[in-house]
Symmetry: none
Subunit: 412 residues, 2 copies
């Protein structure tokens, strides 16, 4: 028995979304409805009733981790989310390119966002693998959108208990990073961060990108401001807990990152883009192939959330219809209830009427021979409220693997 | 979007209450039933399945706090419950007026309840604001019913880790309060408590009330016995977590106290008595007015629980009908589903057949535009068991505010 988890990001909605119904209710989903008739539904609170989940915390919870215990802050998961290779124990910062003026001693921040520059990737190249302190600590920076990026420190004896170099206000000097607590690790980390910041300024100030911006009268990206230090937690890999192989098929870096941290192998599938243009048939085919070598296949589909964040109810509904047809269409016929337990759900609700993650519970569908059937005739939020699986918080992966009779007993 | 939470104390019941049905099933509740048809129902375990809740712990849970984390013992919440102004960090004791005999050195307890005297309020006046230790610690005592009361210590450097002065047995001397752990705070608190106890004895022994009781041959209330030291937790105010204004309309001191600790403003509404005689129309009008300035309005109605504790099923049922007519009657017509999310539930079940709080889950009704409707046609425990909101533990306030899109995300 193998497990497949399919997450449509931001799947849940509200009756206020589109003519008194949710996008899922409005969509024509014959394949999902057939799976619902053959399986059972329930309602999932991604973290707990009334908690508005982030994508990072909800995925941790879905994989069976307690976010209250392992979520160390945005820094670490933002770094994962922009595709940095982050391991347990790494110290991560959120980072901005900013414009400073050298007043002959102090570096005064003039623009905390360097005019929202577009050349972050080019500047980032100058900072690659800036390794300090005789090589036992590495610094890896990656740019994301506009002036944003993330910095990861890896090495022994580091601490996230250090202050920001971002003064959080223009007209002030770049702050000196300081230990927040008296410890050798925090002191050393602060010293390394300050040395990195100086070295980054030296590498950036006369970078061709900045020379060009100077000539055009644009604010330069001549410094990196760091904030929100957080240590990446050591996650007890799901694949090791259950002694299985796992595969992840996702476009977005955050989902790959969390799945990777949970021990899954992240597959590279051509056509998978992490947005509304993604190739859903390619995802279905890759998921089916991955079942050959994995006991757990995790598929993440992002487009539902993109449409919902943009407030586009009809687009969200059409994309759900595409998931039904292009992802589940062929796949649902080819999967055998005796071989695979399937779960289809979302990581949270994103009602287009709100355009943001909300705390509303998310419909979840379980299908496969071990699942006790209920009376649900179709798949949507209302049907799920009457579903035989009731209401529960996160833990879709442990439930799936439980149905597959995998994992040890807690107790004897 | 604003939130209104209406709690009918001890609302839930059992089929053993009245001719095979609960009081809520027996009651004619056309307005609640209409709200149920337009909204959705669920079952709430006030704390967790199988836990018999107190009114204090259940309200903490309903407001989103974890009682296992913040509930420090009866002392603190009893003090709140009799209307003492208690702040986070205050050290509270349960207190009894008792009768002691001075044997020329020891004070021997002869009656731990001072004959269940009726003059507690008069004696309490003699103890008001008995401030010791150069004024940095204040002692506030308040009498409740018969011989009972509560004492609150406020000031720096205090600890609740001290033993009782109540020997818990007659014929023994008043116990010396001692530190339970070696700490400056516990030692200092014990010394202050012992000094207070001596000073209270001096103030009480020749009090006119006791002189009169002596002449009548009644046991005097000449000492205060203290037990169950507990520190009032610092609660992270709901109003600050969500950056909102909140209002509380309640008769009972405990409910005002918990709501106040959660950051709500306690409104003084004429006619609101906290028992079966309360003016329910005045409550409804005050609640509607409070919505003008508050994003969260909490209304507590106590009479259901009073009738149930007295084992009066018919009286409980009639009071539920009064809530339906006098509270929801006009209000439910005037509230707009697009402006307000309403939740009606109880803080626990009190089946008249039992006459005490039980662990049975409580029906909960949510109503408003963001709520996904279910198939429920009326409001009672049986309908709620088939409701679209499933079963969950406490957290009514976070859920309500979640539907109002208030509060930050946990994660990103």
């Amino acid at each position: 028995m193998k497990a497949m988890l399919v997450i449509a990001d931001g799947l849940g909605g509200r009756p206020t979304d589109w003519n008194g119904a949710t996008c899922l209710e409005q969509a024509e989903t014959p394949h999902m409805d057939r799976l619902a008739r053959e399986g059972a539904l329930g309602l999932m609170d991604p973290i707990a009733p009334g908690v508005r989940p982030g994508s990072d915390t909800s995925h941790l919870s879905i994989f069976g981790y307690d976010p209250a215990e392992v979520y160390t802050g945005r820094g670490a998961f933002e770094a994962l989310g922009i595709g940095l290779n982050v391991r347990g124990g790494d110290v991560c910062f959120r980072a901005n390119f900013a414009t400073v003026e050298d007043t002959g001693g102090d570096l005064i921040v003039r623009d905390r966002r360097a005019g929202r520059l577009a050349e972050g990737q080019e500047l980032a190249e100058a900072l690659q693998e800036l390794t300090l302190n005789d090589g036992d600590v590495s610094f890896t920076f990656r740019a994301s959108t506009e002036h944003r990026g993330a910095l990861v420190l890896r090495g022994p004896g580091l601490s996230a208990e250090v202050t920001d170099s971002d003064p959080h206000e223009e007209g002030k000097p770049v702050a000196v990073c300081k230990p927040q607590r008296e410890s050798d690790e925090a002191r050393r980390t602060a010293e390394l961060v300050n040395a990195f910041s100086r070295r980054a300024y030296e590498l950036l100030r006369d970078h061709p990108v900045n020379r060009a911006r100077r000539q055009q009268g644009k604010p330069e990206g001549n410094v990196l401001l760091l904030r929100g230090a957080a240590v990446m937690p050591h996650l007890d890999a799901v694949t090791e807990q259950y002694r299985i192989q796992g595969s992840c098929i996702a476009g977005g870096a955050l989902y790959k990152g969390v799945a990777g941290a949970a021990g899954l192998t992240v597959l590279d599938v051509p056509g998978v883009t992490g947005d509304l243009k993604t190739d859903l048939s390619a995802k279905a085919q890759a998921a089916e192939r991955a079942l050959e070598s994995s006991q757990l296949v995790f598929v993440h589909i992002k487009g539902t959330d993109n449409a919902a964040h943009d407030g586009e109810a009809e687009e969200k509904s059409r994309f759900i219809e595409r998931i039904d047809k292009e992802f589940f269409g062929g796949l649902a016929d080819r999967l055998s209830r005796g071989d695979v337990v399937l779960c289809f759900s979302g990581d949270h609700s994103t009602p287009p009427a709100v355009g943001e993650h909300t705390a509303d519970p998310v419909p979840a569908l379980f299908w496969g021979a071990p699942i006790r059937r209920d009376a649900c005739e179709k798949f949507d939020e209302i049907a799920a409220g009457a579903g035989g699986l009731g209401r529960f918080s996160g833990r879709l992966v442990p439930q799936l693997l439980g149905y597959c009779d995998l994992g040890g007993k807690f107790g004897a």
